[in-house]
């Protein structure tokens, strides 16, 4: 259809572009600028310090610990999300009674507020009155209550909660793709004598490969930058420093030490790590197909 018009088209997209540029892109660019200053978070005074913030961080052990915790957290949560997500998608792709109910229910953790997820799990994992410890004791798996929010187990708890909260995203994305696989492919594989496992490896996996590529990319970005789940779990336990990931550390620098410049430097470092990781990821896995 020909319309009079580049003009109308540009006019209609203009508000979107304007908002995205001024409220998303500009802040990121401004953050890079800000990271070159020693700037108080509340008061307007600021002093140009060049790369001093970055230099300070490179020699700071808290920073390196946060990179380490952040990596442990994102790598392990992504691994479990993907594995559990694919298995769950395979299950709810079968036709059984109550399938729609299960499909609906397994998405709950992903759509509820993170605050609620954290409060729920803090209650379930409470070391004195929590149901999880009660069940583990009752079945005899453990002899003493586990202190889930203590320094030894808090990372495990965090990973458990995060996988629970975010694996539904994987289920939905993979399931949507699985439903478009022609059943004929499975029939042919069956005729050729392939068992369930080999059908998965040779039929399902190649078909969902492209979706998995995107899902792993998005989940990696969002787990590496996950703030609220981690931050809310750190509240009121005393073991917060054992799950202080990079986003939490950036927040603390800005809003507890009031160093907005330092906080911005941390956000920029996060951005650089992500861009580098994404580039490597594309180079390694993307063999010229469209995503």
């Amino acid at each position: 259809m020909k319309y009079n018009s580049q003009k109308a088209g540009i006019l209609l997209i203009a508000p979107s572009v304007l908002l995205i540029c001024s409220l998303l892109v500009y802040p990121v660019v401004y953050g890079i600028w800000l990271s070159l200053f020693k700037k108080h978070s509340f008061f307007p005074d600021q002093r140009f310090v060049g790369l001093a913030n970055y230099g300070y961080l490179m020699k700071n052990s808290d920073f390196w610990m946060s990179v380490w915790y952040g990596t442990v957290y994102s790598v392990s949560t992504i691994f479990f999300q993907i594995v559990i997500g694919i298995i769950a998608a395979l299950i709810v792709n079968e036709s059984f009674k109550g399938r729609n109910f299960v499909r609906g229910v397994i998405l709950f953790p992903y759509v509820i507020p993170t605050v609620v997820a954290i409060i729920l799990w803090k209650w379930l994992l409470n070391n004195q009155f929590g149901l999880v410890n009660y069940l583990l004791l009752a079945v005899g798996i453990i002899d003493d209550p586990i202190s889930w929010m203590g320094m030894d187990h808090i990372m495990t708890s965090l990973i458990l909660i995060s996988v629970w909260e975010f694996f539904p995203f994987v289920v939905l994305s993979v399931l949507a793709r699985m439903q478009t696989i022609p059943p004929l492919l499975y029939k042919a594989a069956k005729v050729d004598g392939a068992g369930a496992f080999r059908r998965f490896i040779h039929v399902t996996l190649p078909q969902i490969r492209n979706v998995l590529f995107v899902v792993i990319l998005l989940r990696s970005i969002w787990m590496f930058t996950k703030f609220d789940t981690v931050w809310l779990l750190t509240q009121g336990g005393g073991a917060e420093k054992y799950i202080r990931t990079l986003p939490v550390y950036a927040y603390m620098r800005t809003f507890m030490y009031y160093q907005a410049g330092m906080g911005s430097a941390l956000a920029v470092i996060m951005f650089i790590i992500l861009v580098a990781a994404t580039t490597i990821y594309f180079k390694m896995f993307r063999r010229g197909e469209e995503i």
């Binding site: 088209g9 572009v17 009752a138 969002w222 930058t225 800005t254």
Partner: protein, 280 residues
């Protein structure tokens, strides 16, 4: 339609078993929240715990409404979320319509910009965003929150709406134009009704994102009377001795609207998801 799996086969039992584990693992925590919120205080700490409240009470809800500003938080959440949804849907639909119906210089560049910003996480922009908002004097206002959410939801809304608009055949619009409708009439009477399911689905994703957000409220809002539910409940939790009954009843009330919307949108969900819905 593939036939239902036979429950009595090994494969059938495996599938049913796994499905049951999945359903319990995801739904049980909610059941436990509901159960706890109706228990009287002393029963909450009974050991061994009761799965169903032995004594049913609404005292937890009473305390929530009388001793806290829960209702204020609730109103704030409703206002901020709905304003965000309305703004995002208007701006996003216009943008998506433009991306699918017009050819202009830079259109593909704009599409990549949208996809790129879709990957942004709040923590990457929130610090400079806060400094900028303070500079223009909007700190501690709902306007700041609405701006943040609208900007943040636009990329995925545009991406999703674009896919929905693409699926509406151009021929329908052409036919309306030939019948003498104006461009605007064609949009209002032909395109929008067909795009409505997509717009509703996108709107609900936006609503859930705004309703659930914690970090922007935490950073941009300082007055108690302007807080929304996420931060309100988190602060109740952190206040003093934890009143588990009250916290659970509050958590339940925050979750209900989301789950209601979610049940409503479920039939659009899988289609939307394929096009890249939601973030976070």
């Amino acid at each position: 339609m593939t036939p239902k799996i036979n429950f009595f086969s090994i494969r059938g039992q495996f599938v049913y078993g796994c499905a049951a584990i999945l359903a319990v693992a995801t739904a049980f925590p909610f059941f436990w929240m509901v159960s706890t919120s109706f228990k009287p205080l002393q029963e909450i700490f009974v050991f061994p715990p009761n799965f169903f409240p032995a004594e049913f009470t609404l005292k937890n809800f009473e305390r929530l409404f009388e001793q806290t500003r829960f209702l204020t938080y609730f109103k704030n959440s409703v206002f901020v979320s709905f304003t965000t949804v309305v703004l995002t849907m208007i701006i996003g639909s216009a943008g998506a319509y433009s991306l699918t119906r017009f050819k202009f210089y830079g259109r593909e560049k704009i599409a990549s910009l949208i996809l790129f910003t879709y990957m942004f996480a709040p923590i990457m922009i929130v610090i400079p965003f806060y400094v900028l908002i303070k500079k223009i004097g909007l700190a501690n206002t709902h306007a700041a929150l609405i701006m943040a959410y609208t900007a943040f939801c636009l990329p995925f809304s545009l991406w999703l709406l674009r896919a929905f608009f693409q699926s509406i055949p151009l021929a329908l619009e052409k036919a309306a134009l030939i019948d003498g409708a104006s461009r605007l009439e064609a949009v209002i009477y032909v395109v929008l009704p067909l795009a409505l399911p997509g717009i509703i689905a996108t709107g609900i994703f936006t609503f859930i994102l705004a309703w659930n957000d914690y970090i922007f409220v935490r950073i941009l809002i300082t007055s108690d009377e302007l807080k929304t539910l996420s931060v309100g409940i988190a602060d109740l939790y952190n206040a003093t001795v934890i009143d588990w009954g009250m916290i659970m009843s509050g958590s339940m009330l925050i979750t209900v609207p989301v789950l209601l919307f979610f049940v409503f949108v479920q039939r659009y969900l899988i289609a939307g998801w394929g096009a890249g819905a939601m973030k976070g």
